[in-house]
């Protein structure tokens, strides 16, 4: 059971999706219950997984590996795709977050009334693939999940979305597809360069992995004996690269644009930066958010964006450490740009949902900044921002949904003084917005604080002036959130039409059920961040150590 926990986590929703497909249309009322059941089980399992996670090591846990596809390509060696899954400190929080967000999204989907079979099937498929993305330890497997996540999302936005949903969904689709093509190219390059030392050893009859790597370095393994692999752990070890292959790093030379590894890093970076999204590759996000139905916005902001950040950790930084060190300065610049540019844009928005969408762009800038610092503080901060933003942005989109459900209108200027008629809703909104702007006591503060501490501590990668500029983000964030609170919630009560005003009742029970757990978690992790961060501490430390150790010989930098 323990060993198959991750597999169950991935495939259980698929099973439910099959059931939803099989059930006749007259039982349509049961779809949402099935979806809720599936996501609840997923939530319970992910919490169980997290509680059972050993926070004292950086190793993969719940690890499982089975041969999946093996082709003997004769002279080209052997193609090996494994079903390899597992979690470590870089993914465990994201798995937990997926459980929370997908569950919240399922409750939020309660009011979906059109084409319910399609909707809930796709939702379950999406849920399964998101988990798969974070758990897969084989690049090919990851890529499959990554692509299959795209498809349900495309339909969910396109078919259940607003007026311009066709435009938004195709934009989302094409953008992400472009990114995934970049990722694909690098994946194949890696495949051609990396061997699985264990399986190759089996072919050669050599049991010792070190000896196999020694032979490989000496070029003494014949081509048809090589077992090429997509295994991420294998890719993480530079000794597994075939000398002279595309992405090998056997020669000690400073990285520059004449090397394929440089371009591979760049392609991967762009691929995941689209997903994050990073300025200037972000314009799909506001459109997608505005057109998507509320639960899909929640999933999109709460968890899909984090796959971009997770990709940086696992792939860009994990597999190309010298590229990460080499580009740290520019990544930090892009991060700061995103923080401030996203914030300024958020301030100018007239649509509440668009404002929150741009605030996501701004917050994801902190992920870039924290990562670029390549310090323990920064990396931990980047991870915490993803986790915390998953909670706060979900809540923010639910807030936009509460308003939209009642009036079909999200324009900020059409509301004033909501506090008078919806005091509880106002309370929730103020807490969520302040949590998003990084008020101490809520999870966002710890996250941003760590990112800033990282940025200031990384003075051989990030200049102090840049760290100082990034602090302006605090001001811009406060400005747009407070302004929206002032305009919509405070002041004399007024809603564009009196008829709408009648409909503005306070939170319903279902809405309370969605908000309360999120608020409690935001508060809990704000006061006691160690509950989540201690578990990932060894992995983060190891991650930073490895990037420096593996990357430093190839860049012109003074060691930290």
């Amino acid at each position: 059971m323990e060993n198959h926990l991750l597999t169950i986590l991935i495939f259980l929703p698929l099973l439910f999706a099959v059931v939803v497909l099989a059930l006749p249309e007259r039982l349509a009322g049961s779809y949402r219950w099935l979806t809720l059941t599936a996501t609840s089980i997923q939530l319970v399992l992910s919490i169980w997984l997290f509680l059972g996670f050993d926070g004292s090591t950086s190793d993969y846990q719940y690890w499982q590996k089975t041969d999946w596809i093996t082709f003997d390509l004769k002279a080209l060696g052997t193609l090996s795709i494994d079903y390899q899954i597992g979690v470590d400190g870089l993914s465990i929080l994201m798995v937990l977050l997926s459980g929370i967000v997908m569950f919240t999204g399922a409750i939020s989907s309660w009011s979906i009334s059109q084409k319910r079979k399609g909707y809930f099937t796709l939702y379950l498929v999406l849920s399964s693939n998101i988990m798969g993305c974070f758990i897969a330890l084989d690049f090919f497997l990851f890529y499959l999940f990554f692509e299959f996540m795209l498809l349900p999302m495309y339909f969910l936005i396109g078919l259940w979305g607003g007026k311009r949903s066709a435009y938004a969904s195709i934009k989302f689709f094409l953008y992400t597809l472009l990114g995934s093509l970049f990722i694909l190219a690098v994946m194949i390059g890696l495949y051609l360069s990396v061997i699985d030392p264990v399986e190759t050893g089996q072919r050669l009859g050599v049991a010792d992995v070190n000896q196999v790597q020694e032979l490989l370095r000496a070029g003494q393994i014949e081509s048809h004996h090589l077992v090429r692999t997509f295994s991420i752990p294998a890719m993480g070890d530079s000794a597994n690269f075939i000398p002279g292959s595309w992405l090998s790093i056997t020669e000690v030379v400073t990285i520059d644009s004449s090397q394929f590894r440089y371009w591979a890093f760049l392609l991967l970076f762009i691929g995941f930066a689209i997903k994050l999204p990073m300025v200037p590759l972000h314009t799909w996000l506001p459109d997608a958010h505005v057109e998507a139905p509320t639960p899909i916005s929640v999933v999109l902001a709460g968890i899909l964006l984090k796959i971009g950040g997770y990709g940086f950790f696992r792939f860009c930084y994990g597999l190309f450490p010298e590229g990460a060190l080499h580009s740290a300065y520019w990544i930090a610049v892009l991060g700061v740009l995103a923080i401030i540019y996203g914030g300024l844009n958020a301030m100018a928005q007239k649509d509440l949902k668009k404002l929150i969408a741009y605030s996501s762009v701004s917050h994801m800038g902190f992920v870039l900044l924290g990562l670029a610092s390549l310090t323990e503080e920064g990396a931990m901060g980047a991870m915490m921002i993803m986790f915390s933003h998953g909670l706060t942005s979900s809540a923010s989109f639910l807030i936009a949904g509460v308003i939209y459900d009642r009036t079909n209108d999200r324009l900020i200027e059409n509301y004033s003084g909501l506090a008078s008629t919806m005091p509880y809703f106002t309370f929730v909104s103020v807490v969520v917005f302040f949590a998003s702007l990084g008020l101490p006591g809520f999870s966002g503060f710890v996250a941003e604080l760590l990112a800033f501490l990282g940025a200031f501590s990384a003075d051989n990668l990030i200049p102090t002036w840049l760290a100082l500029v990034s602090l302006l983000g605090l001001l811009v964030t406060a400005a747009y959130y407070l302004w929206v609170i002032q305009r919509m919630y405070f002041g004399p009560h007024w809603v564009r039409s009196a008829k709408q005003g009648d409909k503005l009742r306070d939170l319903t029970y279902r809405e309370w059920i969605m908000f309360v757990p999120l608020l409690l978690l935001i508060f809990l992790f704000g006061i006691m961040p160690h509950l989540v961060l201690d578990a990932i501490n060894p992995s983060i430390n190891e991650f930073v150590r490895q990037v420096w150790e593996a990357g430093l010989p190839y860049v012109n930098l003074t060691p930290r």
């Binding site: 934009k171 003084g417 008078s420 760590l450 800033f452 100082l468 302006l472 001001l475 430390n541």
Partner: protein, 686 residues
């Protein structure tokens, strides 16, 4: 006495108001629950008294968040003379304000919300005072700002209140950015923000040509000055110093007891308290900047107070001015005098605000019963209130004389100490340059202005005849629950509570509690002199008397002038030296324009490029399609075949078989790319 009991006592003292606030908030609309809040603050007060009486000291650290095996973000508690005194002042004023508010807010429907916000504030403020690490101070620092935001905007229906609350929070955030930068720099050098740890590093620091050597790290002079000034930014924001003083007058939109507690006695003094705690980090150069910032603030606050018509605005500007004194004192190295003034100011200013609250409350009641409506905060409608409100009048007068700085009152002791020390500092550090004499000169000038504006308010509000419109009723004295807390605060404004010698602040018993930490970065040490004391003391008293006399001549039984009749100088004062207007043009408008410009850039340029790319793709596709149909012979067949295939694909997509197609598609693309790679590699190899 064992430490664990002290420990529990401090934690209870800290969390009791928070508990009260939470309970009051959760019980929501039940009436009478606000008493729980009051009771919890009273518990806190008793604990503070007990701790002070027992004289225990304690330093405790907890790791809040582990970063690496060497570094962790720590929280910690500290109980020493300084924190005991300030904590007691905070809780005492808070308790009295809580009691006062019970009567003041009695008929407000949001009374429970009010008390839970007030409890949250008390908790956060105590958090700052008891903090041992900078991170923890910052944590509570922001929470204090948040509770201040909630309380300023308490009457959220009023657009001016919600505007003021936003302004306060944002202006404070500007300062906090600097504060956080300072903390982050210290963290990046020393890997800790614990104040004890930092101080032990600084104590053994060595000065050399290019800066200081601290803990084997060479810190350049400029960097250290930069860090000190960055920390000072936090002080500028929270303590409403020039140039961020603009939020405090607007903050008067909050209920008056809130102004007394937060925007006069405690929160705004947090900046001065912070300066006291991080004093050891400040090199002399940074302190000089601090001194000038304080002096400028003291002066512009006093000037702005001169022509205000709103009873609370006068006090707000006076607060700014007095905070300027405290910061100035820190800047000249008068650590004790600054904190002494903080304590005396907390009492007399809270008393003044509560008195003004009583006046407003009374006029509101009058307003409710009369036909003509007035602005209950405008001094135009006051006058002669000494007859109707004798207790409030007495309270106000004592507190006002203390603020103006007459001997026998507490304000004289602390203010005199500040002016004397700034004079001595000027002698010491000017080295033949007379510029530094500006500081004591401004301090003296401000003392004169203080007497004028406070005298003006006293005579306008309480003396002369009533200027209220004709009505059947008269304003009445407020209930006991409002009268007596204010009177008690006024009582604490008498000099005798602080020093037996009514002329020497340095002889106050507080000197044995407020002990300046060892600071090695300072080069000047001030020598005391009896003559300076005498001369400065006499001058201050003289100036104060002149000021009050001038106010009597000028403003006795006169309403404040209408804005359009004011002289140019008075108009400048009334408009607060036009800071708001200037900031609006220089910062707010460009900021909003920038944000709109960025949105346009995003929509037109960046997204425009994306869309243009998409359109171009479609156009090219159409072009190719056209070529295919019309130019390439046999292309027609191909198109037909293609569309047939696509049709099949879509059909199978609908049949739920799409995933296998996608899988095959991906495999196909992979094979092509593999082949390309191999081909290129082959070409390179051979």
């Amino acid at each position: 006495m064992n430490t664990s009991i002290t420990h529990i006592a401090i934690l209870s003292l800290l969390f009791a108001p928070f508990l009260g606030a939470t309970i009051t908030l959760l019980l929501g609309k039940q009436s009478g629950t606000h008493w729980i809040s009051v009771a919890m603050v009273a518990v806190s007060f008793l604990l503070a008294c007990w701790l002070m009486a027992s004289g225990y000291e304690l330093t405790a650290q907890y790791s809040w968040l582990k970063i690496t095996t060497q570094r962790s973000l720590s929280f910690g508690l500290r109980l020493d003379g300084l924190t005991q005194v300030i904590a007691l002042v905070v809780i005492l004023v808070s308790l009295l304000v809580h009691l006062y508010s019970v009567a003041y807010m009695q008929s407000d429907p949001g009374i429970n919300r009010y008390f839970s916000f007030l409890g949250l504030f008390t908790f956060s403020m105590l958090g700052i005072v008891l903090s041992q690490s900078l991170i923890m101070i910052f944590f509570f620092w922001e929470l204090v700002g948040f509770s201040s935001y909630l309380l300023i905007g308490f009457w959220y229906q009023k657009p001016s209140a919600s505007q003021a609350s936003k302004k306060a929070f944002i202006v404070n955030r500007i300062g906090d950015i600097g504060f956080l930068a300072g903390i982050a720099m210290l963290w990046s050098w020393f890997g800790t923000t614990d104040l004890d740890a930092l101080q032990s590093l600084f104590v053994v620091s060595e000065s050399n040509v290019s800066g200081w050597r601290i803990n084997n790290i060479q810190v350049p002079s400029l960097a250290l000055i930069g860090v000190a000034l960055a920390l000072f930014c936090g002080v500028i924001g929270k303590s409403a110093q020039f140039p961020l003083q603009v939020w405090l007058p607007d903050a008067m939109e909050g209920p008056t007891p809130v102004s007394a507690l937060i925007h006069a006695a405690t929160m705004v003094a947090a900046g001065v308290f912070l300066l006291a705690r991080v004093f050891f980090i400040f090199p002399s150069e940074a302190l000089t900047v601090v001194a000038y910032a304080g002096a400028v603030t003291a002066l512009i606050g006093a000037i702005s107070a001169l022509a205000q018509t709103d009873i609370k605005k006068v006090l707000a500007f006076s607060t700014i001015s007095q905070l300027g004194y405290m910061v100035l004192a820190m800047g000249v190295g008068a650590w004790f005098a600054a904190l002494f003034h903080l304590v005396t100011h907390a009492f007399f200013k809270a008393a003044l605000f509560l008195s003004s609250g009583s006046v407003i409350h009374s006029l509101h009641k009058w307003d409710d019963s009369s036909i003509t409506h007035i602005d209950a905060q405008n001094m135009k409608y006051m006058g002669g209130l000494r007859k109707q409100m004798p207790v409030t009048f007495a309270t106000y007068t004592i507190a006002m004389l203390s603020l103006a700085g007459l001997p026998l009152f507490s304000g004289f002791l602390s203010k005199d100490a500040i002016i004397v020390e700034s004079w001595l500092w000027a002698i010491q550090s000017s080295n033949g340059l007379s510029m530094h004499y500006l500081i004591p000169f401004i301090a003296l000038l401000t003392a004169l202005l203080t007497a004028i504006y406070m005298g003006r308010q006293l005579f306008m509000v309480f003396f002369g005849e009533s200027r209220l419109p004709q009505s059947a009723s008269e304003p009445t004295e407020v209930p006991g629950l409002m009268k007596w807390p204010a009177a008690l605060l006024a009582l604490f404004s008498l000099g005798i509570f602080f020093s037996i010698n009514p002329f020497d602040g340095q002889a106050a018993w507080l000197t044995s509690w407020l002990i300046m930490p060892e600071a090695t970065l300072l080069t000047t040490h001030i020598e005391d002199s009896y003559h300076t004391h005498l001369i400065i003391g006499l001058t201050t008293v003289l100036l104060t008397l002149v000021g009050i006399g001038f106010a009597y001549r000028q403003f006795q039984d006169k309403p404040p002038g209408e804005v359009n009749t004011l002289s140019t100088l008075a108009r400048v004062s009334y408009h607060q030296l036009y800071f708001n207007q200037i900031y609006h043009v220089v910062f707010t408008v460009p900021f909003e324009t920038l944000s709109r410009g960025m949105a346009k850039l995003d929509q037109r340029v960046i997204d425009g490029a994306v869309n243009a790319f998409g359109v171009a793709g479609v156009v090219v596709a159409h072009l190719l399609g056209w070529l295919d149909r019309h130019v390439v012979d046999g292309g027609v067949n191909l198109t037909a075949w293609m569309s047939g295939k696509i049709g099949q694909l879509t059909r199978s997509l609908q049949g739920g078989n799409g995933q296998s197609y996608l899988l095959w598609g991906i495999l196909g693309v992979i094979l092509i790319i593999v082949w390309l790679f191999q081909f290129i590699q082959w070409r390179i190899t051979y």
